[in-house]
Symmetry: C2
Subunit: 306 residues, 2 copies
C-alpha cells in the first residue's frame, strides 16, 4: 500500500524567535532584520520574527518593536503603504495581555500564545498554572479579535516534559480545548524538550485531529536526540501540513552544553524537496541565511554535513 | 488508521567495519576486540566485525585474522570449544574469492558480498563492472556453501550515487537478482552516499519486497543530511526488520570535512525503544561503547546532544 504524501508543506521559520532568544549575546536589530529579509528572499512564507515578552525575561528580543519597524520598511512598497505581495506572514510570540497590546501597537497581524501541557513546565516557564494561562489566552483572544489580529496557539511540552516526564494526551487536549475557547484555529504541538518519537507523533496528532477536526495543526520539534526529521515524517503521515524549523538548527540553551535547537530548516526543506514535496523555498538561498547567521555569531552552528 | 510497528528489530552494528575502515589511523587489534566485546556485552546481536580485503586497499582492517582470533577467545567458554550462547552473530565483508577463502580459514560463519547498483560507483570501488562483480558473487556463493558459511549480500548506492545521480529501481533489482542466483537470502540496501529520502525508502523497499518476497531485507543509511533515522522509520513501515548502525555514528571519509558516518546506533536504539520497539540492547552500555571509542580515538565523534 503506497504511503500518501502532501504536494506541498508550509514551512514556518522560527529561528529569529526560538533561536535568537537562546543566544547568550544580543543580536543587533539590523542583523535580525537582515536575516528576516534574507529568509523572505529565500521564499520562506511564514516567519515567527520576535517575542513581545518582558525585556528582563528575554533580553535578547527586547528590540521587538524595532524589528517590526524594520520589517515594515522592508515590505512596504515605496510610500503607498501597500504591502509587497512577496511579504511572508510575520508572527510574534506574546506572553500575556501586555505583550499582546505591544504587538498590536507594533502592527503585528498574527500573534502566538503558548501554554504548556505540563503543569510543572508551565509554572517554571510562565510562573502560573495551566488554568491561569488558559484564562489569560481567552482574554488575549478577545483583545486580538477586537484589534483585527489573528491569534495562534502553541502547546509546549506536548510530547514530554523534562520535569514531569510523559505527558498524557488528555493534558494536551485540555490545553487545545482552552485555546479553542479563545478563538484559536491553528495550534502548534511543540516538542519543547526534544522527547517525542515518530510513533507518538503519529498517534497524538491522529487522536487530536479526530477529536478537533476543525483545527489546523502545526508541528515544532527540537532535535535533542536527532529525531526531529523522523518526527516530521510521521507528522506528515498524520496529516500535518505546517512544519516549524529554525535556520541552521539554531536554538537550545546556552547553559546546557550540547543542547539541541529546532529541526534545522535547511535539512527539513532538503528532505521535503527530495521527497517531491514543494515548500516554495530556494534551498541554496536558505543555506545562505544559515551562513549569514554563522558569520554574525562567529561560530559554526550547522551540523557537519557534506 | 493506526500505523503498524514491529515488536522487535534486529540491530546490526557495522561500526567496527564501516566505521573503522574510514579512520585515518590504524586502531590496534586489542582495542578493536575490546570494542567488539563491549558491543556484545551491551546486547548487540549482530556485528559486522571486519573486512577481508587486500591490506593495501583497506590498511585499517589489515588485522582481520587477528580480530577473528580475538573474538574466538572471547566467545569460547573455557576450553571445551563451545560457543557462548551470548555470542553475537559475527560477519565480515569480503571483496572477492581470495577474501572469502581467508574469511573461511579464519572461522567466519557469515560473510557479506557488496555490489553497487551504480555502474560508475562499482567501477570506482571494485574496479570492475557490475556484471563482473555479480559473476564473482556467484563463485563466492558456491564456495561459501561448500565451506558451510552463510553469504549475505549488500547493494551499495541503492538510493543514489555521487557519480551517477539517481539510481533507477531496476538497477537495484538487477543486483538483487544476481545475488539470489548466488544463493543469498538476505540483502542489505545501502545508502552509501546518504542520498536517500523517506519516501524513496518506503517505495523502493515495498517494490523489491513484492518482487522478491523470500528475501530478508536490511537497511543501511549514512547520515549526510540528517535523514538516516527518518529513512529507518519508513523502512520499518515497509516491513524491514533489520537496521544497520555504527556506534557513535562513526564512518564517513576523513578526507571530506564534514562527511557523515552511518546512522548512530545509539540514536537508532534510543528511537526504537522510545517507540516501544525492542532491540535487546542496553542503551547505557551502548553509550559506553561510543565513549570507549572516543577515548581511544582522542576526539569527540558523537553528535552534541543532551
Amino acid at each position: 500500500m503506497p504511503l500518501h504524501w502532501p504536494e506541498k508543506v508550509l514551512i514556518r521559520e522560527v529561528g529569529p524567535r526560538d533561536g535568537l532568544q537562546n543566544e547568550a549575546a544580543f543580536v543587533p536589530t539590523a542583523v535580525k532584520v537582515q536575516l528576516l529579509a534574507a529568509l523572505a528572499g529565500a521564499g520562506v512564507k511564514a516567519i515567527e520574527a520576535t517575542s513581545f515578552v518582558h525585556p528582563r525575561a528575554v533580553p535578547q528580543l527586547r528590540d521587538a518593536e524595532a524589528v517590526m519597524e524594520g520589517l515594515d520598511r522592508l515590505f512596504m512598497r515605496g510610500n503607498d503603504g501597500v504591502k509587497s505581495p512577496a511579504a511572508p506572514v510575520i508572527s510574534a510570540l506574546t506572553g500575556n495581555m501586555r505583550g499582546l497590546e505591544r504587538a498590536v501597537r507594533a502592527g503585528v497581524k498574527e500573534v502566538v500564545a503558548v501554554v504548556s501541557a505540563s503543569e510543572a513546565h508551565n509554572r517554571a516557564n510562565m510562573h502560573m498554572s495551566v488554568e491561569a494561562s488558559l484564562r489569560q489566552v481567552r482574554e488575549m483572544g478577545a483583545a486580538a479579535a477586537a484589534g483585527g489580529v489573528r491569534l495562534r496557539g502553541a502547546v509546549a511540552t506536548a510530547f514530554g516534559c523534562p520535569y514531569q516526564g510523559d505527558i498524557a494526551p488528555g493534558l494536551v487536549a485540555g490545553v487545545v480545548e482552552g485555546m479553542l475557547q479563545a478563538g484559536v484555529d491553528e495550534i502548534t504541538l511543540a516538542d519543547t524538550a526534544g522527547l517525542g518519537n515518530p510513533r507518538q507523533v503519529y498517534d497524538l496528532v491522529t487522536l487530536l485531529a479526530s477529536c478537533y477536526p476543525r483545527v489546523t495543526w502545526a508541528l515544532h520539534f527540537h532535535d535533542n536526540r536527532g529525531l526531529a526529521l523522523a518526527n516530521c515524517v510521521t507528522g506528515l503521515q498524520a496529516g500535518v501540513r505546517i512544519l516549524e524549523g529554525s535556520v541552521a538548527g539554531l536554538g537550545g540553551c546556552p547553559f546546557i552544553p550540547g543542547a539541541a535547537g529546532n529541526a534545522a530548516t535547511e535539512d527539513l526543506v532538503y528532505m521535503l524537496h527530495r521527497m517531491g514535496i514543494d515548500t516554495g523555498i530556494d534551498l541554496d538561498a536558505l543555506a545562505g541565511c544559515a551562513g549569514l547567521l554563522e558569520e554574525h555569531l562567529g561560530r559554526k552552528i550547522c551540523r557537519n554535513r557534506v
